[in-house]
Symmetry: C2
Subunit: 428 residues, 2 copies
């Protein structure tokens, strides 16, 4: 079937064989997800898991491509700077060459995970991948070691059941999805394809749109002094309070706007004050305070426009305080500096994915607009239509993140059928 929405059609015997293989190897897939969770692949620590990924692709018989991103990438528009050099933290791709005459497909995932801190909030060890009542708990179990594991198993299953596709399949494993998108930006410049899919944990819906995201720090200067003569100093923590309040206000204002893809979503735009640090000694008046924030904005709005609104809010808040007027807070940009993107639900590969979802689940694949960013933007910017489709669970970036294991095989079956249908099957 191609782009139809019916459930009344014959399934190619190769697809049926692949489905049986996937069902029979559920334990192996779950084991692979756990293996990936055990790698504590936070920013800067992605090397080990990427070498595991490359090894797995190679064992499946794919051409593997492992390389460090060049530092000059950070000068490109829509790139970011995580503060960590690229050396020794490679991107990885595996290429399954098709027989020719089919459409090519990129299947992408990221191996980096956010920190599990504060650990006290976890009921489970965030790195143990413990399974309780068919939920696998762990940092990255959902976001997105499960997707990466499916991506790795797709070519392995194909090989083991002896199916060859007509179009090329490129399995991609990137770094820095959680902080800059640099891994995917680099991939989108290195590999071309007729379509791309990212197996982010969408719970069976399809990400057709997502916001842009920008990170920024705000630094407020104080004047340090011994606490015994505190009035001779200026407390940077106290001076930060009106800035915090101004950012909370801006968060409310930003949600007064709207975008067709985000209608019906409660509070789609989020300005998050994620980190505050100030001072290093209880008996010293802190001479500096810093916030580290994340703000989102609708597709179509530029990074430059968003920066201007942030700076205006900070300037406005500073006008209420003499010290802040004379010592204007500094706004510094780092990490994500990239706009949102959309992909049409009418794109042929989205239609096809939706058909297989409908066939296997008995219900339509729901479009979803992400209030967070994800790597799909770089493929859309490069003209490779891309959205996200993956398994379900709860708590990405939160304590007790878990993957709903009952969603993994159904998701893998939809993706496998879509992949064969999109790329074309070489008949035996």
């Amino acid at each position: 079937m191609t782009g139809t929405n019916t459930t009344d059609f014959d399934v190619h015997p190769a697809i049926d064989r692949l489905w049986r293989e996937i069902e029979n190897r559920e334990d192996e897939l779950n084991q692979l997800i756990a293996n990936l969770v055990w790698y504590q692949s936070v920013l800067g620590s992605e090397a080990d898991v990427q070498h595991f990924v490359a090894g797995h692709l190679q064992l499946s018989g794919l051409e593997t491509d492992v390389w460090d991103i060049e530092e000059s990438l950070k000068e490109l528009p829509e790139s970011g700077d995580s503060g960590v050099p690229f050396e020794g933290r490679p991107n990885v791709a595996g290429i399954q060459r098709g027989a020719g005459g089919g459409r090519s497909l990129i299947v992408n995932g990221h191996v980096d995970v956010v920190s599990p801190e504060p650990l006290d909030n976890w009921t489970y060890d965030p790195w143990a991948a413990e399974v309780v009542e068919n939920r696998m708990y762990g940092r990255g179990a959902l976001d997105m070691k499960a997707g990466v594991a499916i991506n790795l198993m797709l070519p392995r299953w194909l090989r083991d059941v002896g199916i060859q596709t007509r179009g090329d399949i490129v399995i991609q494993s990137v770094i820095e999805e959680e902080c800059t998108g640099n891994g995917a930006l680099d991939m989108s410049r290195r590999y071309q394809a007729d379509a791309a899919i990212i197996t982010e944990p969408t719970g069976g819906s399809f990400t057709q749109a997502h916001v842009g995201v920008m990170w920024f720090k705000i630094r407020v200067k104080g004047r340090s002094a011994h606490a015994a003569v505190a009035p001779t100093g200026v407390n940077a923590i106290s001076k930060m309070v009106p800035i915090i309040r101004a950012l909370e206000d801006l968060d409310r204002e930003l949600n007064e706007g709207s975008h067709p893809s985000f209608e019906g979503i409660d509070h789609p735009i989020n300005l998050n004050i994620g980190v505050m640090s100030s001072g290093d000694w209880p008996s010293t008046v802190p001479g500096m305070a810093e916030l580290d924030c994340r703000v989102s904005f609708y597709p179509g709005k530029t990074v430059e426009e968003m920066r201007s609104e942030i700076e205006q809010a900070v300037r406005h808040a500073s006008q209420t305080d003499n010290w802040l007027q004379e010592n204007p807070p500094e706004v510094v940009y780092h990490g994500f500096q990239s706009g949102g993107s959309t992909v049409s639900m009418d794109e042929p590969h989205v239609q096809l994915l939706g058909s297989w979802h409908q066939y296997l689940n008995g219900s339509a694949m729901a479009p979803r607009s992400g209030t967070g960013t994800n790597d799909m933007r770089y493929f859309n910017f490069a003209g490779i239509p891309c959205g996200c489709y993956g398994p379900g669970g709860a708590g990405p970036h939160a304590a007790d993140e878990y993957l709903d294991l009952s969603t993994v095989v159904p998701t893998a079956k939809v993706l496998a059928a879509f992949m064969l249908d999109w790329c074309g099957i070489v008949d035996e």
Copy 2:
């Protein structure tokens, strides 16, 4: 002279010899101060400078006593817990035995210094002890490597000019003055004397009273979540704001009280919010925020009373917010947990010190009430009358801390004459 206030009397020839020695060796004294500043002896890094101090005392011919404080000290009243084990960070004492028949004296100083962060605020390298226009800049140059250097040189000069005292002199070098007072608490239990003096940088005044100081942390819980769904989380930074405001209010209220020793001092009591830390990722709603604070209180008020006021203010602030009511902030005590102390200006050794100050400076030694704490309390608690007298400068605990080098020799001369007069001179 003993306890008189006249300047019309004969100076003992030994004192006069000692003064000439001090004047002639000014360069050596300044060099010793610089040597001490070069040791970056922040909390946990006191070992090297203490071994230098012990070596210097030994070279002067004193019995030296170098020992690690026992961990059980932290269970005593008025002790604190810095979080750093005592092992390998010794207290040091040097004992100059007298010939007998005189009064004994403890001369005390601390080697620990507070962090120089943020370094950006410094014009000078905080560890270089650079001298510009007769000011020595550096962390600890004033507070109190200068005092420690004077303490070390006092017995060295005595030896070199061949003067023996009747009473014992105990030179003490302690750790943790800046965070707990544990070093001095331990000293006050190990050595007895008829009087004690601490060469803290008083600029030629005498510290007759000082506040009690207590450190405390306040922890506010939030609920972490991905920033894309921030409203499902609770931002601990935002929840900390009313607590910050409540502490600022309490600071004002505490200054509505009064104490006879602190009349005429502007804002003698200071509740300082010294540190705030929260979150570790811009795209995650922070699940915990922590303040680290210092509050002072008048002599006579107990640690328990102060704790109760802090806890009441936090409880009160929490009542304005449902989340804080259901998740009450936690107050945790660490570091300084000790009351203030006073010493009478009529104490014989204070009178005698004042007489020599008057003789050499031509003006009365001004009493001073410290709005910060210092180690004198433990000697007063132990029945050894103690206050502080030392050189001058500016910016203790602040950027560009400096020692006014013109005050060092005059201070050393007062202390040297007082010491000989107090302990008694063995005539040749």
